[in-house]
Amino acid sequence: MSDVEEPPVLQVEGLTKRYGDLTVVDDVTFSVRAGETVGILGPNGAGKTTTIHMILGLVTPTAGTVRILGRDPHHDRGALEQVGFTATYVSLPQTLTVRENLRVFARMYGVRNAEDRIADLVERLKITHLADRPTRHLSSGQATMAHVAKSLLASPRLLLLDEPTASLDPDAADRARQQIKRIVAEEGLTQLITSHNMKEVEEMCDRTLFIRDGRIVAQGTPAELYARFGASGLEEVFLTIARNEEVI
C-alpha cells in the first residue's frame, strides 16, 4: 500500500435508523478503501440490509452520513453512478431475456458500448448460453449470475452484494463466488458484502464487521478476529458474538 492514504470509496459515519422507539441501525461508522472487500455479518434482524439500503439511498437515515467517493447519495443521485447492487431478494423482469434486461440496465447506467460489455460479462460469468433465455426460465444459480452481471455492467467503483448466494446450493454458491472474485480482481472493484455464510465471508473478505442489534460489535481481519475471540473460524466468532452479551 502506498504511504499516501487514498480517500475511502465508501465512508459511513454515525449511521442510525429508528422507526419510532425501535432502533434498527445504531451509530454505525466504517469505511471501505479502494480495492478492499468488506463483509458485514450478523444474525437475522441485525440491521445489515437496512445499512445497505441506506447506502443506496433507498432508506433515509435518522442520523449520520453516507459518502460514496465523497458524494452523498441521499442528496446527489449521481453518486449511485459508481455503485452496482444485487441482492437475493430482488429479481429482474421475468419475461425479458437476460440480454434484454442487461441492455435496459446498461442504458440506466449510461454504458455506451453495451453490446460488447454484455457479451464480455456473460462470457466471463459463463452464462453466454443463457443470454437469450427469458429470465423466468433460469435456475436460482443462473439467475444469481444474471443479477451479478447486471451489477457489474458499469464496472462500478463500489459493488454492494446483499446475501448474493443465499438461495444457492453449496456448489452453485461456490461457482458464483469464484466468478465474482475473478471479475472483482480483474476490474479492481471495491466490495461490501452481507452474508450469513461464514465460508463466503472468510473466502472473499479482507475485513469483517459484525453487527448485532444494529451496532458494530466487532471488526477486523479474520486473523484479528480469531485472535480476539480465541476462535479458529468466523463461525465460532459469529456464535460467540451472537450468543454472549458479555464478550462485547
Partner: protein, 277 residues
C-alpha cells in the same frame, strides 16, 4: 474481445439514457407479452363497436340528431385520457410485480426521469389505441372524428393527456405509499373522475354540488368544448381550453408534489424495501 480484464465499459450517464432505459424495458414487455398488445387494442375496439352501434341506433331513431356522434367522440377522447393515466401507473406496477423496484431505484435514476419514461411509452400506447378507435369509427360507423372536430382536436387531446398523466402520477404515488394492496387504484382512480368530467352529458345535468367539483376537473371543460363542436358549429373553445390547461397545470404541480412526498415518506419509513419482498 473478452479475455484478461475484458471489455471496459464506456460509461457516460445521462438523463435521456435513463429515460430511454425505462422506455426500452416497457417496449420489451410489449414485445414479449401478447396480452399487453391485446389489452391496448382489445378495449378500444370493443368500446367503439358497442358505442358505434348505439350511435347508429340513435341516428336511426332521430336522423337529425348528432348525439350519437357526440357519444362516439366522447368515448374516443375519454379512452385517450384513461390510457394516458394507466400507462404511467401500470408502468410502475410492472416493476412492482416483477420485484424490480429496488433494482431500478438503486440506480442513479431520478423520479422525473422514471415518470418521463412511462409517459413517453404511454404516448405510443395511447396513439395506437386512438388510431384504431378513430379508424373503426370512420370505416364502420361513418364518423370521421378528426374531420368533425378539426384543428381544435389537437389542444383538446393535449389537455386530456396532461390530465391523464397527472392522475397517473398521483395514482403511482398512492401505490408507492400504500403498497401492492392499493394496485386497484391504477384502474379505479381514473374512473372516479368520469362522473365529473361530463364525458357523455353536459355539465348542466349534474346536481349543483357535482357541478362545483366538475369545474375543477380539466376534462369537463374539454368535453364541454368538444361537445359544442360536435353538436353544432362552434369553433375553437378558447375559454374552455384556457380553463382546462390552467387546471391541468395545477394537477401536474399537485401530482409532482404528491409523488415527491410519497417517495420521501417511503424512504423515511423504509417502505421501499417491501417492494423487494
Amino acid at each position: 474481445m473478452a479475455g484478461g480484464a475484458g471489455v471496459r465499459p464506456d460509461v457516460r450517464p445521462s438523463s435521456w439514457g435513463r429515460i430511454s432505459a425505462v422506455m426500452l424495458r416497457q417496449m420489451y414487455l410489449y414485445k414479449r407479452t401478447l396480452h399487453r398488445w391485446l389489452e391496448a387494442v382489445y378495449w378500444p375496439v370493443l368500446d367503439i363497436t358497442l358505442w358505434g352501434l348505439l350511435s347508429t341506433y340513435i341516428a336511426d331513431t332521430d336522423p337529425s340528431s348528432r348525439i350519437g356522434f357526440g357519444l362516439l367522440g366522447a368515448l374516443i377522447s375519454w379512452d385517450i385520457l384513461f390510457r394516458a393515466q394507466q400507462s404511467v401507473s401500470v408502468g410502475f406496477l410492472e416493476d412492482m410485480w416483477s420485484r424490480n423496484v429496488l433494482n431500478v431505484w438503486s440506480t442513479p435514476i431520478r423520479a422525473w426521469e422514471y415518470v418521463g419514461g412511462t409517459v413517453l411509452v404511454g404516448i405510443v400506447r395511447v396513439t395506437l389505441g386512438a388510431v384504431i378507435a378513430i379508424a373503426i369509427a370512420g370505416f364502420a360507423f361513418g364518423f370521421n372524428f378528426v374531420v368533425e372536430v378539426g384543428l381544435p382536436l389537437i389542444p383538446c387531446l393535449l389537455a386530456l393527456l396532461l390530465m391523464g398523466w397527472a392522475v397517473g402520477v398521483a395514482t403511482t404515488a398512492a401505490i408507492l405509499r400504500l403498497g401492492q394492496g392499493a394496485e386497484e387504484l391504477a384502474w379505479a382512480l381514473g374512473f372516479l373522475f368520469q362522473p365529473f368530467s361530463a364525458v357523455f352529458y353536459p355539465v348542466d345535468v349534474l346536481p349543483s354540488w357535482m357541478r362545483g367539483i366538475a369545474f375543477f376537473v380539466p376534462a369537463s371543460h374539454v368535453f364541454e368544448g368538444m361537445r359544442a363542436i360536435l353538436l353544432g358549429d362552434a369553433g375553437l373553445p378558447v375559454r374552455e381550453l384556457a380553463w382546462a390547461f390552467a387546471i391541468d397545470l395545477l394537477y401536474i404541480a399537485g401530482a409532482a408534489w404528491v409523488f415527491s412526498w410519497s417517495l420521501r415518506q417511503v424512504r423515511e419509513r423504509g417502505l421501499l424495501s417491501r417492494f423487494g419482498e
